[in-house]
Symmetry: C2
Subunit: 472 residues, 2 copies
Amino acid sequence: MNKKLILDLTATYTDLYELTMGQAYFLAGRKDESAVFDYFFRKNPFKGGYTIFAGLPDLLAILEDFRFSKDDLDFLKAQSFHPDYLAYLKGFRFRGTIYSLPEGDVVFPTRPILRVDGNLIETQLIETVLLNMLNFQSLIATKASRMRLAAGDGLLIDFGLRRAQGFGGYHASRAAVIGGFEGTSNVRTARDYDLRAFGTMAHSYVQSCESEIEAFRSFAAARPDDCVLLVDTYNTLKSGIPNAITVAKEMERRDHRLKSIRLDSGDLAYLAKQSRIMLDEAGLHYVKIAASNQLDEYVIRSLVAQAAPIDVFAVGTSLVTGQPDAALDGVYKLAWTNGHPVIKLSENVFKITLPDKKQVWRAINDQGLFLGADVVGFDDETNIDMMHHPFVPHQSSAVNASKIEPSLHLVMAGGKIVHNPPPLSQTAQYSRERLKMLPAEYKRFENPHVYKVGISSRLKALRDSLVAQHGG
Amino acid sequence: MNKKLILDLTATYTDLYELTMGQAYFLAGRKDESAVFDYFFRKNPFKGGYTIFAGLPDLLAILEDFRFSKDDLDFLKAQSFHPDYLAYLKGFRFRGTIYSLPEGDVVFPTRPILRVDGNLIETQLIETVLLNMLNFQSLIATKASRMRLAAGDGLLIDFGLRRAQGFGGYHASRAAVIGGFEGTSNVRTARDYDLRAFGTMAHSYVQSCESEIEAFRSFAAARPDDCVLLVDTYNTLKSGIPNAITVAKEMERRDHRLKSIRLDSGDLAYLAKQSRIMLDEAGLHYVKIAASNQLDEYVIRSLVAQAAPIDVFAVGTSLVTGQPDAALDGVYKLAWTNGHPVIKLSENVFKITLPDKKQVWRAINDQGLFLGADVVGFDDETNIDMMHHPFVPHQSSAVNASKIEPSLHLVMAGGKIVHNPPPLSQTAQYSRERLKMLPAEYKRFENPHVYKVGISSRLKALRDSLVAQHGG
């Protein structure tokens, strides 16, 4: 039974069809044919104007260790896979090469974020776990960054583990920090990723004590330098705040300072204002106010707009599950195989894929801001002055950039990670700097400006010829 | 780095405040005080009329193995926890007792689903992981059961792993089967829980071959007895179906049968009907039609209502993430401590908790259907003929049941699992039978009937006296 809990991630954390296709390639003698896949998504989450890319180091670590265990192979044998293919899977390792956007960067729909080069089987087998890891962490980092934009100088803490999607909570807390959260209540993720762990107290603590004031006293005694008191178990303004003030004064006499009170119900704006007045009148200007209870970017924005004196926003469900979208629609599409570029046609032109081994160029203006356009082309096209609409014929525009920079970089070569990942604090800092380069109109919540993605003249010519060839 | 991937679940998969409160109890010498917590939720997900309870065996297995590793203790030491408390945590095991609803049963808001009896520290420390596991799996099992209701006789397959919330995908596929799915594409979960694994082919397979028909031929050769062909890579009706028919005829000559075709884009109702006609005209009545692409219970219901001849519904994102809710709002509330029952007051009367060690009685009518009311009371109250509204004063009604049955059963004693869990197929069967006992008006998607939860006269008297005592 315990085996089932210990998610020692193996190569079967995948869809069966990856293995089925792998077998078909193998039995057809095509296992060494080359392939290139692109990872991209089609729609920003939360009706927003951008997405924060996250999950890369976790994915790369998974791929570096991607293998089939004995239990895996036994199970596949029972599914009637071919013995020769099973022998191949037994020794299987991912030896491909990956080019990627840096984790934490700002990114937009339809442009490649990451490119995988390798043989047909290895590039196919990693599809599911790649999508699983990147889609989810990018979703959560994006949600977190929206709250960061809304919260002004407020501290943002992830309190979501109890409402997270099972073991998904593990990476949710990581991604939240990339998007701008200062820390998490999730001890395990804090431990593994060197994050700041935060915690307060629950109603049960207050209930379990003789009285609210006795609860506050014993909690302060146990945690004199990091004491946060939850004030709404009985009545926030008539009981919780007065008792917290009494205990804070007692702590002062022992040379300690109450760190914060936490509001977890009722009208947070009103209660925060009243609590602030009461604390200030008691001379407790230093005691911070934390708020929780069904927060999201819109509630936080509203609280800030009302000048509610809230110093710390503790966010749960909406953050760690990425409500209401709950998923990023990232896909993984074949762009090259066995020596030639390929496309996927569709009756929906927006779903026609871009062929070949591509680079994506980001255009930057003379103020150091993103110009509002990424251009998909090739590595040797450093001088792009014109881009074409990827789907609409005869629509093109000039690229008046003061600089264009390549956005896909080598991160894995022959199955080995090229650089150790930076500390998460550095990735979060990088993400914040990149988001600053994005003009405000792309960051607003309502009807944000659409960031353009164009294709270079050379890519357009290639794509059009392939469409024509397939009678599209 | 690999350490971070291998989610060897330890006791730090929790919120910091559980540990902080545990320390306060420990330092106050209260570690052996008794406590009882209830798990319940306040709102059915998806605006529905019921919830399917899931996740229990996984939770119990986690609790049986709940311990702090050396890495955990080192991290907690760095967070300034007290050495005596750390020594206690080093030897910590969960030794509590749990009463629970059976996994797969139908359940409703505000009534206890599971009750934990133990000491203050152990009952507190398990809160987060308990909520994490039960909230998530119950959400997904409920979503799955709604699709089961919509799909009629159609086969339901989970294809969601790529859009699942990271490692949350592991248990999502399990919960889907409890709710009525026949299997999953998720190989690892199929392996660990003995589920049926399903798989087809991706567009990339077709693209990687010389032509669509060559792709179909090679795939059929590699998987002659379990061959599903994806027909929309180029043009479903002009290319995909005709090529599938050709290959199916070739398979017949080798004494094999094409199992199914899969539609993954366009108007699924129209394409299924046209595909059925073309397959039937070719004498391929036995070839099934599978459909995927953004399905949920509403789309499935619409397809069934249009009499689209779809045999297999493959569902991804909306299933495994429980869109749009993405979380069940389950909570864990203290009901008893150190020899006496406790409540939590709230300015919102609906958030006042129910005190004491409770049982929940389910009323069944003379037709063997659920009567429409659960009564929260005590173990020795087997003769309940009256129930009271839990929140509204002076509102009560008679319980005209032909039978009342207790719904909480002993599942863990002294930290040990009492019974081995049944195979998942048996839990799924039980769930289906229980859902059949729920009258139809509670199962409809639009404005379902509200299942009543009442409290017994004895519980009401106790609750009212505690409210009065706290001046509520």
